[in-house]
Subunit: 417 residues, 2 copies
Amino acid sequence: MSGAERGARVMARLDQLARHSATPGALTRLYLTPEHRAAADQVAAWMREAGLAVRIDAVGSVIGRREGDRPGLPALLLGSHIDTVRDAGKYDGALGVVAAIEAVAALGDRRMPYAIEVIAFGDEEGVRFPVTLTGSRALAGTLDPASLDACDAAGVAMRSALVAFGAPAIGAAAALGYRRDAVLGYCEVHIEQGPVLEAAGLPVGIVTAIAGAARHMVEITGVAGHAGTVPMALRHDPVCAAAEMVLAAERIARETAGLVITTGIVAAEPGAINVIAGGARLSLDIRSGDDAVRHAATAALRAEIAAIAARRGVAVAIADLYEAKAAPCAPPLVGALAESVARCGVTPRHLPSGAGHDGLAMIDLCPIAMLFVRCKLGISHNPAESIMAGDAALAVAVLTDFLTRFDPRLTEQGPSQ
Amino acid sequence: MSGAERGARVMARLDQLARHSATPGALTRLYLTPEHRAAADQVAAWMREAGLAVRIDAVGSVIGRREGDRPGLPALLLGSHIDTVRDAGKYDGALGVVAAIEAVAALGDRRMPYAIEVIAFGDEEGVRFPVTLTGSRALAGTLDPASLDACDAAGVAMRSALVAFGAPAIGAAAALGYRRDAVLGYCEVHIEQGPVLEAAGLPVGIVTAIAGAARHMVEITGVAGHAGTVPMALRHDPVCAAAEMVLAAERIARETAGLVITTGIVAAEPGAINVIAGGARLSLDIRSGDDAVRHAATAALRAEIAAIAARRGVAVAIADLYEAKAAPCAPPLVGALAESVARCGVTPRHLPSGAGHDGLAMIDLCPIAMLFVRCKLGISHNPAESIMAGDAALAVAVLTDFLTRFDPRLTEQGPSQ
């Protein structure tokens, strides 16, 4: 089968998988729903066709295993997730599962000095239950047992949904975890969900890290007043202070390589056209693949915000809402992926992942790596999500080359700590 | 009676007037309500006590007249309004009426070479009906007859409310207007409703103009995106564009004497913490006592907004919501008031009125002037509105001196045009 044919089959299978949806004419496939079960069964069938031995684990992940040149060797894990957001695109998650199956199929009868497992996780998006990364956390041995009692909007507990899904009975959550010495690494193919590769004219790129992220809400208190009667020099206008803070955040992000800061929320209180606002608020979403870079930029921004507030005579309070550490990709895997990209005739381009992925959990188990595939206009979580068949074919070719040349000594781990 | 006694009587009468309210324990006195009628009757009684001949005109204004040294001379008009906003302060409007009555009382039996009329307008705030300045527009001959058919929230037409109020039957609206040659000018005492005099340590100030104002809404359309996946250099963020525009507006206002610009509304769409907004909006309220200054600043700001949008690759549309011309105070009256202020031992301070007043309508009839009285923290339209008795006494003294020395030749007008 040619590379183009493999790309075409990947695209056809992605179309086919998208039919398993809660909503006709659109794609919504939440964790442990009947459509998730149907998609899991379809993926299991494709895995078997590719020569994998398939099981579904206790939290609904589909796992297909292919032994190495002798049984019981440590496994390189491939895959992604098959749950979606509501009104989703066809490629987020599913591409990584289907491409991994295709790459394994491309290996044919060749036996490797390591085992391979292709995994289709069921809960990366975290839409149905107020938890996320359930499948990857289970494998990493970090699943909080309380997650199993989390309920969806209809009041159904995850534990009951797993029974309805037909997952094997669950024991202790921690017991779901893989042994570290049974695993060599986790490598995921995923659409970029951003515009970098398209802007660079490249079909694929190698991820350096899944960015760490923090979210803050900045509340500014100034002095409300009549829009006509308070001269500019006597104002303590929180909206003008907020504007300066937004631009300070943008400037710091622009000056710092590999960092992004977003102000997605900005608002004035009371928000009347003829009233100098008494208060204003703005949100900060700060991400970087390097936690030290993010912490330094955050400290610089906090100092700027305090200086702006002091200069303008307004009060400011910053609420820290959320923080997640970065998950750096393992240099040996990043290097090997880059070599495979180059051997496929593409200039290796390294970029961070600003969005979260199962690697955020898998990094607690093993070295991780990701290959990003260009997507149209960077659009994702949207029916307009789109990739090209040629790029899918290239991703399969890169992954196949990577598997063919992978040396298990690169990432071999000791026993679980 | 000493000046301090006159100040004390003004404060006592303002307390007394505040009892005429729709709401016990708070002050809400809307146009043509029973509490407005009660306040009008109280004001009429004080006018008669000060020797004025009182009538209530067809739109509910209380008008007290004092002839000059011979009957039928042109009149200098004094006064303000006795309607309030909801949950109002005691001084906005009422001070100007009570202080004018007090100044006339202070003239005693002295006959002037001009007549004086003290007017208590009933609709300056425009709260009850969707029109405003009804009393002053009627005198100026500019009342739109359609105003009489405007209805309040309960569906009561102004025309019916006037009958219930007990106003004399109304003829043609235009026929309510005064002849120009019967009027010498209109001079209003009013609380500043801003912080300028308090910041300057001055009890009173002389208004240069009632500011012209325009309101605009700026709508910015950028490119929405994932807060993690779009590098700073590839963003077209409407929130950052809005922030630059807010600061451009502030800078232009700071650099332009006698101009204020306020952004009371700012918002991002969709307004999610982890999404680069697709759109943003901000309001602009631009005021100046000099329309040419306002127009030049607005043109400069429009050019800046267009340049910011072009540089950032976002689209911008500016909706023009409202515009009112400035009403400049008449230099002869401003000069005479300033002399009286100086003679009362206070440094004359000139300042614009950023808020609207009955002078906006009266300027179509005659030259206008205003004397501002310091108010605490610039707070108005609020129960916390506050002035000092000494400042009220000073305002009465200034107005009395002004009346004593007023030369009708300063502002004498020809017959109506």
